[in-house]
Assembly symmetry: C2
Homo-oligomer: 356 residues x 2
DNA sequence: CTGAAAGCGCTTACAG
DNA sequence: CTGAAAGCGCTTACAG
């Protein structure tokens, strides 16, 4: 640890120039003689000079800092992808991220926003951990802000969310493409929650069916709760109906995981006997399943990137209708979807015996 | 967005006092008359005053900022717990975290450290995403730094890691406590990697057995790769040996998950027929399994907290042996461990029939 | 208890 | 192309 960080003055003195000149080479301005630049650069190197951003900030009024605020109670495996995406984009623009985890009540969140503003952030990304409507602290209006994986009822903030409907549609189309017509859908949450992920994915499923000319059959639809247990139970239930599904679309990978256990119990093999598409791309689950699960990826990194990207264009003036952006959920092909079999249902002769 | 942020001068003028006085009330110094304090506070409130940290930083030399550097190639579900723990502790001390994700080569990491220093951070936590030895950028020596979930070969940085040996021991003891004597262990990685998580957990297993007076039987030990497939295969393999295990200790939850599939195929029920303890507490997996998995939690939040806590005590002077701290991995009891059964092996009459 | 002044490390017109 | 000076928003002795 150096005795004392050299300042621009130390460099100026050592190089025999004025501080303004040092500042100019620091900022790579054109109007500096090549010889001077070389000399100053050499001195900076020799003295181990590093600029102090705080001074720059105070002088120019620009902190080159963005705030990243997370409001969540539970840990999700997605949080870090969001931060990674945002951080990567920020770095490209020489910005850095002040990250603050404000789980807790409104007071905590308001305080967090205030802290961020005191730190001089030039924008705040307010990130939810699942797609839902949020009530943001008032102070968020004092600085450019964008909502991620969330939106405000007044739509008074730019917002970026996954395109749930498109995701549901693509998942279903993937199954249709392989000839499936009896496709079950288990929503990732109760529809009464109104959550876009639950309502939207089902809507996409319905649209895809309609486009393909396949009649919607409510006997194939179940309201799940998102967890593995729910997937397990509904799978057994759906397998017991007349003309059972040959394919399943689950609103979460966790439910698909529960389904795999049900299939295993019944000796049904994926994808030979039954095809499955999940949602979320929780790769620790999707990759761990046998066969690995084909699923729809949530665009976390992309949302993080978009948020910073949009912040970079601030200030936006008094635009009364901030963009409400939906990003597609790309399909991640693994091994759980195959062509529909002419003969349907369980195949007893292959089940329960021996190992895979 | 306000026209222009009021400064300490605006407050001083509006309150009819000097800027020094405003500064004093801002910093809650004792030597301010109550009346003055009230007056100034009122004006600050009225004008919506917010201090500018950058100015404070430049004047006092203290940024109240820590850097949080992550080096990782792959996403892990743990990253965010680390950040959360660190951030929570930082907030208690009125510090904030500059988070930067420096996956990539050494140059990227060195640049990241330099950027953090330019921002004036008073310390850096360098966090790996799994327990291993790291080679840190030289510049890290310029500022107080602590290594998380990692260590340097020279042990020249404070370091905090999970106590793998103790974790392995506790997991095994949990199984011993329920009467199990034939306990299989599948390591979470190949021992040739030398990774503490692989070597240490096995060591803990060995110790626990020795303490309990149970002879170590190498027929019960397998080198796994950590993923579900590995757990699935070794489970079938171990179940086929003479005098098969009644309990399994897996070095990862993912392997335990693979094992559950093997058990299901064989009609073995957890924990009635076989007991299981995992490692990592990946709760999206551990909670999703039926029954939910008893496992050892990695102390991510605690490591993050410890790191900031230690940074708060810097500078440390020229201490030649920085602390190398090991934190315990608490057991998370769910439902996968039960008493050993007198009669061992599969119970055909209960297997493969009906649903759970 | 309080005001005026200096100064932290920069950047930015302003002259030359 | 370059130097001297002012000033960003604070804090901190120094006088009183």
């Amino acid at each position: 640890m150096a005795e004392k960080k050299p300042s621009i003055h130390d460099i100026a003195k050592a190089a025999g120039v004025g501080v303004g000149t040092v500042s100019r080479v620091l900022n790579e301005r054109a109007n500096v003689a090549e010889a001077t630049r070389t000399k100053v650069t050499a001195v900076m190197e020799r003295l181990g000079y590093r600029p102090t951003f705080a001074a720059r900030h105070i002088r120019t009024g620009r902190s080159q800092l963005f705030g990243f605020l997370t409001d969540q109670v539970t840990t999700t495996p997605f949080a870090h992808d969001l931060i990674k995406g945002a951080q990567a984009r920020a770095r490209q623009a020489d910005r850095m991220l002040l990250v603050i985890d404000a789980d807790g009540d409104d007071r905590v969140r308001a305080q967090a926003v205030a802290n961020l503003i005191e730190r001089g952030v030039e924008g705040i990304v307010y990130a939810a951990m699942f797609h839902h409507e949020v009530h943001v602290p008032k102070a968020l209006h004092e600085v450019p802000a964008v909502l991620v994986d969330s939106f405000s009822s007044a739509r008074d903030f730019p917002s970026v969310v996954p395109d749930e409907v498109l995701g549901g549609r693509m998942a279903t189309e993937r199954l249709l493409a392989d000839g499936h017509r009896r496709i079950a859908m288990v929503t990732n949450d109760f529809l009464t929650t109104g959550y876009p992920a639950a309502v939207g994915r089902l809507e996409g499923y319905t649209q895809a069916l309609a486009d393909a000319g396949v009649a919607f059959d409510e006997a194939l639809v179940r309201e799940g709760s998102g967890n593995a247990d729910s997937g397990y139970r509904w799978t057994h239930d759906l397998l017991d109906i007349d003309d059972p599904p040959t394919a399943f679309f689950f609103g979460t990978d966790r439910m698909a995981m529960g389904a795999y256990f049900a299939f295993t119990e019944r000796g049904l093999h994926v994808p030979d006997d039954v095809s499955v598409v999940g949602f979320d791309d929780q790769h620790y689950i999707a990759d761990a399943l046998r066969p690995a699960l084909t699923t729809m990826a949530l665009p976390h990194a992309a949302m993080g990137r978009w948020a910073i990207d949009h912040l970079l264009t601030a200030p936006w003036g008094d635009d009364r209708s901030p963009p409400q952006r939906r990003l597609p959920c790309p399909i991640v092909e693994r091994g759980s979807v195959g062509p529909v079999r002419p003969a349907q249902g369980a195949t007893p002769e292959r089940s329960l015996t021996g190992r895979r």
